[in-house]
Symmetry: C2
Subunit: 360 residues, 2 copies
């Protein structure tokens, strides 16, 4: 039902649409690994379920689960969320999943990027790297194999030719050390259809993904970018956000527009508690979860779905402000905050655990 295509999306007139373009549905993966999620993933499973339930108000949701967790996922999730077997090493559908591309004439294909678990945050990613192909089979979609190690969370597009990314991640020597910036740009253009690549510098402070853009900044619509921000000049995030802001204000996008930047103040630093760290069963070779470590909390890690925006909140004084700013920037959408500390404890957030499949 599904075939590898030897050309590229660009050559065939396909491109990655903006996340806010209409979705056929959302893909997610079920968390379980005990060396990353505390208490063998039980609290994270509840948090993921809430995310799935909220997205389901707007569009179909498919949850992929490992075989040993299928029955548990089926039991916990509402019955209108589809559960399928989709073996994985961890639950980051944004990053190990495919990038869907469209041709504007009803056809959908997908890009199967290479994957190395963010430069090796755990030691075996053999199941993760099969996820895009399995999604292609499940949906009967043809796919392109991109010869580039790339996670979905490391790029954002405006759907009008502009791609936003970070140097910290895409130029990191643990991803594609044999490729120059120019070569990486060429691959991005070929496989996403973007015309212009906008490079930010570092990602969010202490982000274990090596600075994925999807935690730092995202398009709200063409010409408008939201940026995580802090007014505290002593916070290590300050110079990062300031640099990103300065770059954004200098850019023009693929259409020649200057960018409007919407600052969204970050939550107070989220530190792993003793209790939270104690719930993780450490394994040599897996990125550790130590008490006191600062997590890369950001409201930017939200997810567009059909008519909605699902935003991580942290029981933080800045939550309401973030929701208000986003609601006012996205007046046509229902902006919904979902408690996300439990997801953050695994190293990412709502955007990282979702992947949109655009409508055909």
């Amino acid at each position: 039902m599904s075939q590898a295509i030897l050309s590229t999306p660009r050559a065939d007139g396909f491109y990655m649409p903006a996340e806010w373009a209409p979705h056929a549905g959302t893909w997610m993966l079920w968390p379980q690994r005990p060396d990353n999620w505390r208490f063998r993933g039980k609290p994270a499973q509840k948090a993921f379920s809430v995310v799935a339930r909220v997205i389901r108000r707007f569009e179909p949701v498919t949850m992929g689960a490992n075989p040993d967790q299928f029955a548990i996922a089926r039991q916990i999730l509402p019955s209108d969320v589809r559960v399928v077997e989709l073996s994985n090493n961890d639950a980051w559908m944004r990053d190990c999943g495919p990038t869907f591309v469209v041709n504007g004439q009803g056809e959908v294909r997908l890009v199967n990027w290479q994957f190395n678990a963010w430069g090796g945050l755990y030691q075996d990613w053999s199941l993760d790297e099969m996820v895009p192909l399995k999604v292609a089979e499940l949906e009967g979609l043809d796919y392109y194999n991109a010869p580039l190690i790339l996670e979905g969370g490391s790029i954002h597009v405006d759907g009008e030719g502009t791609l936003l990314t970070t140097e910290q991640c895409l130029l990191n020597e643990n991803r594609n050390p044999h490729l120059s910036r120019r070569e990486i740009e060429n691959y991005l253009r070929e496989y996403t259809g973007a015309e212009k690549i906008l490079w930010l510098g570092d990602g969010v402070y202490n982000d274990e993904t090596d600075g994925h853009v999807d935690n730092l900044a995202c398009f709200l619509r063409p010409g408008v970018v939201a940026l995580t921000w802090t007014n505290d000049r002593n916070d290590p995030q300050y110079p990062i956000s300031k640099d990103a802001y300065d770059r954004l204000k200098k850019f023009t996008d693929a259409k020649g527009r200057r960018l409007e930047v919407v600052k969204i103040h970050q939550p107070e630093p989220v530190l792993i508690t003793q209790e939270e760290a104690a719930g993780v069963i450490p394994v040599e070779g897996t990125y550790p979860r130590n008490a006191g470590d600062r997590m890369a909390a950001s409201y930017i890690n939200f997810y567009f779905c059909n008519g909605g925006a699902v935003v991580p909140i942290f029981d933080d004084p800045h939550d309401q402000q973030a929701l208000d700013v986003l609601q006012s920037a996205l007046p046509e959408r229902a902006v919904i905050g979902v408690p996300a500390r439990e997801i953050l404890l695994g190293g990412g957030n709502i955007h990282c655990i979702t992947q949109q499949q655009p409508a055909g």
Copy 2:
């Protein structure tokens, strides 16, 4: 996407259609277990692939595979066969899979029978028993949980109210010992929509399924039944087929018709060779494969697909006769023989490894 329905198919106007009614497609499972299939399933995988390829000429085919075999299945199968993760203990989709039911108004649901690996031919069937639910999820179909241990291969229907089965299997104490014949009939009526249950006696000689009807006899159309036969009165199959013939000639079906019986002469006895037995890695508790054991070879174990009938052949002098008889009984179909000794060595045949999903 998929919900358990607490009523029964009969109560909701649903019934199991005849196998020759139009299919949406065919479900199969990928063989691998080394204690049942010789050489870790490699020859069987080739044989299953040929079956999938032939059926694919007529209708879509989905192959379910365990996660560790997904890439291998994907590589061996033609690209127009869909491969999905569908964890299983062995590859008998007919028996562990769902029975699909329709309401004649475009709706399709499925029946999730209970399963105990044919009374325990192996010791762990925990994955097999999840297969119907997972198919329901994959297809977004609602399902009925039937409180009856039953394999799909133990029943045949004519789609007009008649169900054919065997006493050896359905009344076996290793299936539903707490239920009487009358109670089992009632469940069959409720969950398949059949009106009249026709009981044959024993199944094919030495059939490890405890005499599944799908190896002994099947409907060719309403009012016409094909029956495996032998003219050799010294063959242990003779009295079995003779008894079935006598019963069939006495029955009337749900519409009051007398049955025409088409005899199909069985192949010569198929005995496991030394070499074939040596390729199996025996495990205590799994049904053994010993050199010299007679397999339950039968042409009846064929499969209807849209416009076709896929028939097991055995490099046997009776092959051509069986194909000719079936072709003449099914003039509107392409009757195709597929070499099936390798499938038979695992304990079943083409009908046992397929499950039709009717069109809506």
